[in-house]
Symmetry: C3
Subunit: 421 residues, 3 copies
């Protein structure tokens, strides 16, 4: 699966909280993955919320005093505030300005705005164009409607040997935002395909492609009893295609295994990787980590929402996402997953004194050794020393300050020699 090609293909689809754009996005994913789609009807209660009506746009534009189109939804979905209520009429410049959204500090960019829960309309456009609007009257057409429909999500299950699940979630509601979140969708899809192509994993993996906030809430409401108690780790994937160093936002618990695994992998993978503490603001970790659920779900990304100027603007386009960074992000997620998959508690079977490694071909014969062999020996010694039943291999790697892969390889050799079980 070529991640960047997937981002390109999904970019033009008119995503929103509900509706056809989401369905089309899921259809594309379903071409490669065994995706199951769920529709939750408008009006369904989901925890403290209700599934809203579907929003549809037929046309939406503003025509100026000189008869020229000032802004038009047909030029791109960002130009209309998401879930704008229908309106047709003539307004003067002052009234129009109250319905225009722009960014004075980034005057060439169009912002991305929604108004899911307020009955109003609005357009988004570059501030430099707002400033050039002349006095006079403007003809506004917002031909939209909200009708009964459903909220849509898709899931891919990769069955594992355990019932325990690892949840991988990416939101699918933002239109025309490449990094936020076609990058997350693509990396999640890529990981799903890797797992499906590989041997049966230890954990069961569940990939959730759902609209932000309400999608997660409706999913949690539906699976509160059956799936939620089985989730042993999870990630929200978002913002994985830009050129910032990788970042991981801890779950609310802060020291869940997934937090430790992600921190470990990022620290060894990238000198500038950032570990962010939990905050109750952000993406769908807000829902998964709400205090009633308090799931061990963190968020893996690169640049952090609100910190980069392209965030939620027309500049988060296809040029903002880099194919190499997408692949690197997939490798990072896969490395964290590898830790979760291979982490286990093993116990030294010869804990009294050092076992004689030389006799088992695990140790140098003379007193001088090349550096790499010495490092491998140190990993054997650390693993034997720390595998006393009180910590897993990840704990060994953390305490010995060695990469997990090195410790896991040492553990394999020691298991083969009967020294670890």
């Amino acid at each position: 699966m070529e991640l960047y090609a997937l981002v390109e293909r999904l970019f033009p689809l008119p995503r929103s909280l509900t509706g056809e754009g989401v369905r089309q996005t899921l259809s594309v994913l379903a071409e490669d993955l065994p995706l199951a789609v769920t529709e939750v009807p408008t009006g369904t209660t989901a925890l403290d919320w209700q599934v809203p009506r579907e929003w549809r746009v037929r046309e939406a534009h503003v025509t100026g005093p000189d008869g020229r189109r000032v802004v038009d939804w047909a030029d791109g979905p960002l130009h209309l505030v998401g879930h704008s209520a229908p309106f047709t009429g003539r307004v003067d410049r002052g009234e129009l300005l109250e319905h225009l959204h722009s960014l004075p500090d980034r005057p060439a960019l169009t912002p991305y705005r929604t108004s899911y829960y307020a009955d109003t309309w609005g357009f988004c456009m570059p501030h430099e164009r707002v400033e050039r609007l002349s006095e006079g009257y403007y003809d506004v057409v917002v031909d939209t409607d909200l009708t009964a429909g459903s909220l849509t999500w898709g899931e891919v299950i990769v069955p594992g040997r355990l019932q325990d699940e690892i949840l991988v979630s990416a939101h699918v509601c933002h239109p025309a935002q490449a990094n936020d979140n076609l990058s997350g969708i693509a990396v999640a899809a890529g990981l799903a395909q890797r797992l499906l192509d590989g041997p049966t994993p230890r954990h069961t993996f569940r990939f959730l492609f759902a609209p932000g906030t309400l999608g997660a809430i409706a999913w949690l409401a539906r699976h509160r009893e059956d799936v939620v108690p089985r989730i042993s780790a999870g990630f929200v994937l978002t913002g994985l295609g830009d050129s910032s160093p990788p970042s991981y936002k801890c779950s609310r618990r802060g020291d869940a295994v997934v937090d430790r695994a992600a921190q470990h992998v990022l620290r060894h993978a990238h000198p500038q990787a950032r570990l962010l503490p939990f905050t109750p603001y952000g993406y769908d970790e807000r829902q998964f980590c709400s205090p009633g659920f308090d799931l061990p779900v963190g968020r893996l990304g690169r640049g952090v929402h609100g910190e980069y100027p392209e965030y939620h603007t027309s500049a988060d386009d296809l040029s903002f996402v880099d194919p190499g960074r997408l692949e690197e992000s997939l490798d990072l997620v896969a490395a964290v997953v590898d830790v979760l998959e291979r982490d286990e508690v093993l116990v030294n079977q010869e804990p009294y004194g050092e076992p004689q490694l030389g006799r088992r071909g695990l140790y140098r014969s003379t007193g001088a050794t090349p550096l790499d062999a010495r490092a491998a020996e140190m990993a054997l010694l650390w693993t034997l020393s720390l595998c006393d039943g009180s910590r897993s291999l990840l704990g060994v790697a953390e305490q010995a300050d060695l990469p997990f892969t090195v410790v896991a390889a040492a553990a394999e050799r020691l298991k083969d020699a009967g020294l670890l079980a």
Copy 2:
């Protein structure tokens, strides 16, 4: 109550460990506050100590070879070592010097010295004057006596809804020391009046105006069974009028709620505020925090005893105390008290997923918000996230790194909306 005016009025009174000076000081306080006075007779056993006799001075001076007064108690109480034993006689310069106390490194200042538990006499004077004393004989008159009497303290109780008490203590034994401790007395009196003038507090407040060391010991001895077990927090107030930044010395426990509340308030109130660890030296926290009692009582002040050159000298006079600093100190104490009063454990009533704040008028409707509204929203989100029953509002403020007042305001809004209880 004008704090500085109170300091001015108390300054000339001849305070000592026992006696009329203490009684006069308490009488002044009793003009504005419902002060109850306790007298403990000489000879009464108090823990490991005994109440001493009262010390009275009729006259005390030294006359030089030229017939001129070298030093005279009538010029100020600091000139005579506190509790000097009576003596009348002629001594040569060498013998006199053994009874003179001065400060070679601060030659213009007179030190404050006492000798409560040794049977001797002494005078205090500027070192520059000691150095000018000529050879010859000096006539010494120390007309004092120690007679049976009592140890005196005063208390103001502000009844609260709870039996739990917050203790506010200020020592009342130092003569002619404005910062140490008329500042503490004035701030304590000001806080008492604020509480008496306001609505009934949650905690019961007890203000203790007692002589240092022995006063606290005798009070603890008397109230060991009835009051001491009810003390949930407390402060020793001293040195609150100088221009140093505020400081808080932790209780022996180090992490009592009062320690956390004071640390929190000081950190947010003053960039140079100092948090001092407990040490077994200092003021009456030595007694309240002795290991048998180990009360959650810290010490709030500004400059720290022994660190500023005016400490225990004639330079700790009315000019050393600033009216604005006194008021600022009162506001600080009141802010810490406010935390103690309003801190409580509240629990999110909609802990599964985020509650829909928009529907309740608690959230912005469109995707961009002014910074202050955003901060208020963040406080709502933090409070909902962290109020899971495992921590109080102070704990929320600490973990979210928000001022307590902001968290408490968010909690009020959430309680009003039924989301917190």
Copy 3:
């Protein structure tokens, strides 16, 4: 006992893992100390290991194409790889080079190498001489044999009032290495003599002089049931004569009393002292701290193996060890032992309020005191405050940030006054 003289006397003895060199070394120690020698026969199983045969060298040398001796064991034991297998024959330069060990980065030094568990032979020599070897044939004589014998160790017991033992261990297998480990042997012997010359200690002390790795393993195997469970603290002593600052490597536990005591003493004794975390590589702490035993045994030294260029080379000779540093190291070990010996949990007998120290002659009478008296008073106050049964005197010293000796002296005075018991 003059430590450096002992190092000088032991230097020429031909130590190895087993054999006469070890026996001769122990014989020298037995001249001054009540040393008990144990012999464990070849073939005896010891945990995961077996006691090997004894290795004996009759002669070993290489003669060059010009008939001149290239390298000769008779010039020093480092020139032959320890436990070289017998070999006699003519080899060309290329084949010879595969059996030569040298240090390209320190071309003037001869390395120390062993090959206990591989059936091969080798010589060690300066790299600058290896590089001058001409083409041609070389006559090699390695006249050694491996015969049934035993592994040898010596022990000195200093009986104490308690059965609990403090183990002091020094390895005795390295030939011609002054710092590694004649310094450790000398300091251990010096400490044993000090204890034997003094009053009966509280703990029983056991000094173990055994070959590295296998000696410790065989000793642990033999005393697993009787002695090991009684070990309450211990040190491996090695590298104590060089001029680096002292260092202490923590036991695997990291916070054992011996770790805290050593850290405390080193921090107060030497500004550059180093505290090293446990690693599973090093000297015999590897065995004592293997996870099955996990004994509270740390390692005290100065320069750390592998960090100084003289390590395991001909430069670790008598000139590398300094008599003054040896004595300083002995004083350090003795100071740590003093903490272990005198540490105890004492409880304040007057914990309610401060006891009246003045009445007991423990406190100044007037309000000014010389600095040293003030420090002594502070130690009294800290000891009274912290001796609540929850920590020992070492814990008091740690928390009060005072030297243990100061706290212990204060505790003595308070015990004498009946205030501590």
